[in-house]
């Protein structure tokens, strides 16, 4: 057998041929170009068109960006320097403080909102990333009070009293929650109110303990105002949204219909009409003699607006949970509050995180609408004091580009986080 076989084979290679390089057209950059840019006639045409479009964009954009003037005092001086093609970015170096902090925030206190902004990242980090030490959440809890003190100023006793109210409420709640959830909640609210009432006297009596220079709300402006509105309204609307979503799912018809009417009403009207309400109508419904400032009224309305949208997102999460989860909680003998806290909400909230983030991004973008009721946020600042000043009248692109860039950075970062979280939370399906 073996010899006949050896007869038929004239030559047996005993060394391996070195692998030949792939053909030119099937390797490296050429292959990539062929597959991704010039696969077929139609694709090639598209590529050429895209290149032309890109060229036109860049030929306008790049000279504008790199040929710009960065330190001139006003638009006339700037136009002399740039001679036609560049941008007048000196408006940004000249007015950066107004764009970021508004027109009336005391300049020697800029470090306070800046510090609050930096601390925001520390406070929000343990909420966003699960693997950070849980003790950081304590700082998250303290953050609202610190930030209030830093941004608005005044004595530290006011936020301390507010904090004390919450602490008292928490202790009453955890002491009573074993007996009845409703009783614990009621007790906590009463305890907190009493603490605030008593603390009010203390903070009034000692108004200059560790007092920072007080800044009234109407002096807030610029991008800081957008950040304040965005952060405050999103965080306030989350608990309200959860309550509304649970109410809409409830089996009690009256509670259900109150929630349905509220949610559908708020979702049916544009935010701008709610801001009109805050601006001109809400004052009629408040007790005579009280005078809420505009920023507080706006926060109330935007919070209501956001909570209706968040409620719908969470309702989606609740509906997406399999019925077995509800039944399992029932069969363990948990009551409604326990079942929600321990079984339903943790899962439902996890499902609804991407939706909540979407609402948050949308809400943050919508904070620019306050410029229409003549508040000086970033957009209001640009449209009002800066574009109408004689120094910078006519510098559109640089200002709008800057505003768009600020919002883009924040919103893009948040949406990237949401996508990362979505990938991380995808446990086991598919």
């Amino acid at each position: 057998m073996s010899d006949t076989h050896s007869e038929s084979i004239a030559f047996v290679r005993d060394t391996e041929i070195p692998p030949a390089p792939p053909p030119m057209a099937e390797a490296g950059a050429v292959k990539w170009l062929r597959e991704n840019l010039f696969a077929g006639v139609f694709n090639s045409i598209l590529t050429v068109l895209a290149f032309i479009a890109l060229f036109y964009l860049m030929s306008g954009f790049l000279p504008w960006l790199f040929g710009g003037a960065w330190n001139t005092a006003n638009i006339r001086e700037c136009r002399e320097v740039i001679q036609g093609s560049g941008g007048c970015f000196s408006v940004l170096t000249d007015r950066w403080n107004q764009l970021l902090f508004g027109i009336a925030y005391p300049s020697e206190a800029y470090w306070r909102p800046t510090l609050a902004f930096v601390m925001l990242f520390v406070a929000i980090a343990p909420v966003l990333f699960n693997n950070l030490p849980r003790q950081m959440l304590i700082f998250t809890g303290l953050y609202p009070f610190i930030a209030f003190w830093l941004i608005w100023g005044g004595t530290i006793l006011i936020p301390l009293v507010a904090l004390a109210g919450f602490v008292v409420g928490y202790f009453i709640f955890s002491a009573l929650t074993k007996q009845s959830f409703a009783m614990a909640l009621g007790g906590a609210v009463v305890g907190a109110l009493v603490t605030w009432w008593l603390g009010g006297f203390v903070s009034q009596a000692m108004a200059d303990v560790l007092a920072l220079e007080q800044v009234p709300s109407r002096n807030m402006g610029g991008f800081m105002l957008n950040m304040i509105l965005g952060v405050v309204c999103v965080s306030l609307s989350l608990p309200i949204g959860i309550v509304l979503a649970l109410g809409r799912q409830s089996s009690m018809p009256i509670i259900k219909w109150i929630c349905v009417v509220f949610i559908e009403f708020v979702r049916g009207v544009p935010l701008i009409t709610l801001l009109f309400v805050a601006n001109v109508v809400l004052a009629y419904f408040l007790p005579p003699g009280t005078n809420f400032d505009l920023i507080l009224r706006v926060i109330i309305m935007i919070t209501l607006f956001a909570s209706a949208y968040i409620a719908e997102v969470i309702r989606g999460g609740l509906a997406a949970l399999p019925r077995g989860q509800y039944e399992a909680a029932d069969s363990l003998g948990l009551d409604y509050a326990q079942a929600m806290q321990l079984i339903i909400l943790p899962q439902a909230l996890k499902i609804s995180i991407p939706g909540i983030v979407n609402v948050a991004v949308g809400l943050f973008k919508d904070t620019t609408l306050v410029s229409i009721i003549s508040m000086f946020d970033l957009v209001g600042m640009i449209r009002g004091p800066i574009l109408s000043s004689t120094d910078w009248n006519g510098v559109y692109w640089e200002l709008w580009g800057f505003a768009a860039l600020l919002f883009f950075v924040v919103c893009y970062a948040i949406s990237q986080y949401s996508q990362w979280l979505e990938r991380k939370l995808q446990t086991g399906h598919r």
């Binding site: 597959e35 991704n36 840019l37 696969a39 694709n43 598209l46 590529t47 895209a50 290149f51 479009a53 890109l54 009845s180 409703a182 089996s251 009690m252 018809p253 009256i254 509670i255 109150i258 559908e264 009403f265 979702r267 049916g268 009207v269 544009p270 935010l271 701008i272 009409t273 009109f276 309400v277 001109v280 109508v281 004052a283 009629y284 419904f285 408040l286 007790p287 005579p288 991004v361 973008k365 919508d366 620019t368 609408l369 410029s371 229409i372 957009v379 449209r383 559109y396 692109w397 709008w400 505003a403 768009a404 919002f407 883009f408 919103c411 893009y412 949406s415």
Partner: protein
Amino acid sequence: MTTMTDPPRQSFRLSMLLNDTRYRSYTFQFIALVVLAGIVAVLANNLVVNLAAAGLNISYEFLANPAGYDINQTLIPYTSQSSNLQAAWVGILNTLLVAFLGCLFATILGVIAGVLRLSKNWLVAKLMSLYVEAFRNVPVLIWILIINTIVVTMPSPRAYRGDAATHEMLFGVIAYTNRGVYIPAPTFGPGSMIVVATFIASIIGIFAYRRYAKNLLFNTGKLLPTLWPSIALFFVPTLLMYFIMGMPIGADIPALTGFNFQGGIQIQRPLIALWLALSIYTGAFIAENVRAGILAINKGQTEAAASLGLRPGRIMNLVVLPQALRVIIPPLISNYLNITKNSSLAIAVGYADITATLGGITLNQTGRAIECVLLLMLFYLIISLLISFFMNIYNRSVSLKER
């Protein structure tokens, strides 16, 4: 004879209102109702006291009074002597106009961008994601103001005048100026109605033919061509009738007379800015919906269709699109709703929509804040509820019939 099988009937105790699940829900609902009534009563009381203090009352008589202001773009007859109600109607129609135009353009833009973002062409896909991300992550108000700036910096009508004209009309018929865009208006001569009727009839004919072809295919398996006959039906009868009737439909081309263009249809600057901004902004969202819809279709569906021997065009038409549309349409309609609601930002560029007329000038001139804002909310609420009503009907009709 008494039976002892019934358990001893428990007498009702007050604590059962809180502890017995049979009664507890009534307690909670009662509390909720009382709290709600209390809040409403306090608010209503405050309202009455505040109104009395300011010497005001709630009345809608101002709607019949002359508005006293001019509106630059109106779809119905309006002068400054017309009533506030008429001004509100102008605003409503303007809102609906910009919302309709915006939905139309946003859909076209969104579908193209969404499909191109899935393209295998690397450059095109990247450019489209740049478009989507740039527009989705920047507030619509900023986009409206940016596009308004672009329109404001367009050439003034003067640039078209005389020998030293620096700009020419697009195709010789469209003029774009900082006052707005002027496009030719159709003029209807005698007999033009017949041409229009022919056109409508041929459109109906196209649908009838396609339905006939589909039925024939399903019943007998015989395949008729549809694309070329449709195109032919679209153009041929109308053009024939147009020449037979002696070309009755003409175009009123805008022409420069004096300092401005006359004739044609003028689309005012604010409308252009708002329309473009809303549609490009919402187009980015629609692009994402379209992309998600197409990606949601399992690859197995495409492969199964291919293994049945269908050609790529038919796979798209018969297998992928019907399933993708079920995913795309609900968010699409909520985007339409967003366009309608975002059109209230018209006030930022001076377009006279309902928010700018009723909620802006009328409110400021009459001081009837509560009434104006209430009517304004009512209008948007009705629009939203109508749209979501139709969306629910649609959803029910396309939802998978499961047992």
